[in-house]
């Protein structure tokens, strides 16, 4: 049988920086001393059902009409990017707490626990409007 297994390669990296005492140049933060990066390949750890939404309009809960995107528990990988508009906030507990924030151009990607992550997201600004792209693998 020909295969159609989904494989994901993902990488999160950051560079803490520090302004020199003269206030003129940024250097790598002296408390870290280096760039930080981690990457992984996911294949057998997750299912093979990929759902990609290139453009989704998201509004805040107070907007009219109320529009948010609610992804129920049960998937293994989650990616979200705030493409344009207002900041987007992200909940891992079905909307009780929105503890992660994304501004325009920023993305979040992670292997998630299919039994624990009930992901929901909406704009962080009252009556705001955002455009996002997201991907899940179940």
């Amino acid at each position: 049988m020909a295969t159609n297994d989904v494989t994901l390669t993902y990488k999160n990296s950051c560079t803490p920086q520090e302004l020199d005492s003269g206030g003129t140049r940024w250097f790598m933060d002296s408390d870290c001393g280096r760039k930080l990066s981690g990457n992984s390949v996911l294949s057998g750890e997750m299912g093979n059902t990929l759902n990609y939404v290139a453009t989704a309009d998201v509004k805040s809960s107070t907007a009219d009409p109320e529009v948010s995107v609610d992804l129920q528990t049960g998937f293994d990988f989650f990616y979200l990017k705030c493409v344009s508009g207002d900041d987007v906030k992200l909940s891992f507990d079905g909307g009780s707490n929105y503890l992660v924030l994304l501004s325009v151009g920023e993305a979040f990607a992670s292997f998630v626990d299919s039994s624990a992550a009930d992901i929901k997201f909406l704009t962080a600004t009252a009556d705001g409007n955002s455009v996002v792209e997201y991907l899940t693998v179940t």
């Binding site: 206030g23 933060d29 992984s40 990929l50 924030l101 501004s103 979040f108 992670s110 292997f111 991907l135």
Partner: protein
């Protein structure tokens, strides 16, 4: 004390699908997933507080830091002096400082998967984020306190390095 601090960050995702022929297992290869047909990702930067709560805002010290300057922390340190924190079956709180969190980065430097909670101290915290060996996760906070981040092993012990910065 630093004059100012910021953190640049980026995320990349490459969704692929395995293709191949029925009888030639050696011919299988990965190509971009046909539902996406491109690489995904984003980047940004965030200003963080120039004066972090203490040295526990990162798990490690700079290679340029001198030992004499670190003696007070070196004596009181738990197991973070080399930048490696061991993760076992008891949840590890990254910092006990209760400040508004700007940014968090966690890398699994071991081989076994760890799980991350954003509600450390809750009665029954959930661990929605999983980090495989070699992988990392990062996120900005939205009213989240730095003392709410905890890490626990999935099934076997591992190690992490981290940055957790306040606003």
């Amino acid at each position: 004390m630093a004059q100012d601090r910021k953190i640049q960050f980026s995320t990349q995702v490459i969704p692929k699908i395995e293709s191949g022929l029925e009888e030639y297992s050696g011919s299988r290869y990965n190509k971009l997933h046909t539902s996406v047909n491109k690489k995904l990702g984003g980047n940004g930067y965030i200003d963080v507080n120039a004066t972090q709560a203490d040295d526990s805002w990162t798990s490690f010290r700079s290679p340029q830091a001198n030992w004499i300057g670190n003696l007070s922390q070196w004596e009181s340190a738990d197991n973070t002096w080399d930048g490696i924190v061991t993760i076992s079956s008891s949840v590890v709180q990254l910092t006990s400082n209760s400040n508004t969190m700007a940014f968090c980065y966690i890398k699994n430097t071991g081989e076994n998967t760890v799980k991350v909670t954003v509600e450390y101290g809750a009665g029954s915290p959930t661990y929605p984020i999983k980090v495989k060996g070699g992988a990392s996760v990062q996120f900005r906070g939205n009213g989240l306190n730095t003392n709410k981040i905890g890490v626990i092993r999935d099934s076997s012990d591992s190690t992490i390095e981290y940055v957790i910065a306040k606003t």
